[in-house]
Assembly symmetry: C2
Homo-oligomer: 370 residues x 2
């Protein structure tokens, strides 16, 4: 799966037809149809030290029609491939939820839960080496918002390319990233920034926008909206690749926020089959760190049991195996505290942009690689 | 509180000074300072049948400094009014969360929970007859997204007015509504639509956009994002008032969705002090209705205990006192079922725009008032 070039419509359809062909070949030989796919358990997902991302291993499983459950899955796969092909040909897209409801008409192939249909969509991604976006399947959640002096072209419903500068052509809420940010839908046109700052919470995003931090620090600001959507991670990766800009992550000091960072920098287990495509390897974690809680005497909250469990799991997570992360996580456990980005407001509304961010950006540990 | 005219900066500051004056007057007479505000309990919130919205009654309470808790509240009120005045003078705004953290520097006036600071902001709205937006206090959540042939002007950070047509000048994610939609920030310029359709879920909003329903049915589409933010309700009210357009609500068939509708049409208890300002009285509930589950044989889920409790409460809620609502709610209870908007996908991706919405919009019960 190369980063630059994506599959054409014809190639996607061909890859889907291959799924049907495997079944057809078996049946014409008088044996039960099969579908071959990687084992989707944690044991077959490994951290590729060389690439620095999560990847599937080589274990394969064969799903065949000798049990009722597997036969159903094969039937569903055929219905789904047919549905996707129809969407591609008619220029449509659908939410995963809609596909779940559409299966009402598929008789024995009907999904019994949204989870079943989501998993099958992922199976097909893995088998065909396509993306859900190639299949025209959309998530429910909104994508990120971007503000800063970067210019995109988005192809609108009429097929026209619309040029949008994320500083001059948008309101306060910024440019809303569409679900599909591949080159047939979105083009990166030009930029005049030094780096990209990804921000966890809406409150902090709005603060940096109001304080004009994008102009002052020459950066583009992205509101992650919590755990970032695939389109959010993908557009950061594209900006990182095509514009050669470093990605800096500014989040709460909280085990769940660390995971947000890790999914941006190294990929996530759930999307291990497309890590190479979504992960921005050089992404830098800027803060809030455990250090910061002490250094800036930030208002903090006690770690819950769940928080402590998550920190414990992170200690053995390969994405947090560096000395720096191990130290930060141990320090957090010792203090028993976490803190929010917005706690910097303790020192007034301008502290984050006048003092905190300039100090952190200048600090060698998180210094920008240029 | 008139609908068209909002308070100027000077008037907002004056209203805040009045709060301080009341305290100062008492103290200079040698008696404990006080703050007079309406009783904020359900018993003092009534449904105004004539206006068709929730309103506060006449019961007043006097908060004075004779107990530690009340004295703290008065101290906080003074800190908050000072903070707001500073923001107005410096052209800043802040999230409610930031204000909570800023109180770290207020000694005995420090808030102990976000709830305390949110409630005080509401108290001040009630006492001063201003809006939180006048106070420059922002919520965390994003506002709505709009797509359709309507044109706004939004004043950007530099003070320039930026013209945005919500069909031609935005990407697929639409125009993001800012937190402040008052006339100093947002102007309604022109429109070429027949009505406004408010949509509960992102999946359905995207479906109607992809199917071009805004152009076909000559409407503006608004994604409510669940329980709509104040700015979302306010911009609908302004479009309803200034453009004389009917508001049509398209939501799930679910007791919580009914509440979304009711908060749009009649206001909510929590914002009873500004119902006149947020509620779009003529808003029409289009669906999904309990009738529809039967008429269109929609995939449905069983009502939970919580759902049944909510329906029961709605039966005695004045906002649902009409015969039509009572019948729909009783029918739902009998069926024991609820259904999602997206369940219409059972009949394919175009069913909602080709069949369901045209049929419902033509139906006399929900017919557009023109």
């Amino acid at each position: 799966m190369s980063n630059g070039r994506r599959k054409s419509k014809e190639e996607v359809i061909e890859a889907l037809h291959d799924v049907a062909s495997e079944m057809h070949d078996k049946m014409s030989k008088g044996i039960p149809p099969t579908m071959t796919l990687p084992v989707r358990s944690k044991s077959n997902i490994g951290f590729d030290q060389r690439l620095g991302v999560y990847k599937y291993g080589k274990k394969r499983t064969v799903r065949d029609a000798t049990s009722l459950g597997s036969a159903r899955q094969l039937l569903r796969s055929l219905h789904v491939t047919e549905f996707i092909e129809e969407m591609i040909n008619s220029g449509k897209s659908s939410t995963l939820r809609e596909m779940y409801y559409i299966s009402e008409a598929w008789g024995n192939g009907k999904f019994h839960s949204q989870n079943e249909s989501n998993n099958l969509a992922e199976d097909l991604e893995i088998v065909t080496k396509c993306l859900r976006e190639d299949f025209r399947l959309r998530p429910e959640e909104d994508g990120a918002r971007i503000i800063g002096n970067v210019t995109f072209e988005e192809r609108n419903r009429r097929g026209d390319w619309m040029r949008i500068n994320c500083r001059d052509d948008v309101g306060d809420s910024g440019y809303g990233v569409p679900y599909n940010v591949e080159s047939e839908k979105l083009r990166l046109i030009e930029e005049d920034v030094d780096f990209i700052m990804a921000i966890e919470t809406g409150g902090m995003f709005d603060r940096l926008v109001e304080n004009g931090f994008d102009e002052e620090a020459r950066c583009a600001l992205i509101h992650l909206k919590g755990q970032p959507a695939r389109s959010t991670r993908r557009i950061m990766r594209r900006m990182s690749d095509e514009w050669k800009k470093p990605i800096v992550v500014f989040a709460d000091c909280d085990p769940w926020s660390f995971r947000i960072y890790a999914s941006i920098a190294y990929g996530a287990i759930k999307t291990a089959h497309i890590s190479e495509y979504l992960a921005s390897k050089g992404a830098i974690y800027l803060g809030i760190t455990a250090d910061d809680i002490l250094a800036y005497d930030l208002p903090s909250d006690d770690l819950s049991k769940q928080d402590l469990g998550a920190l414990e799991a992170e200690l053995s997570d390969p994405r947090f195996s560096t000395g720096w992360w191990q130290q930060q996580i141990e320090m957090m456990k010792e203090m028993g505290k976490k803190a929010e980005q917005q706690s910097l407001a303790k020192y007034g509304l301008d502290f984050v942009t006048d003092t905190y961010l300039p100090e952190k950006l200048a600090h060698p540990d998180v210094g920008l690689p240029y």
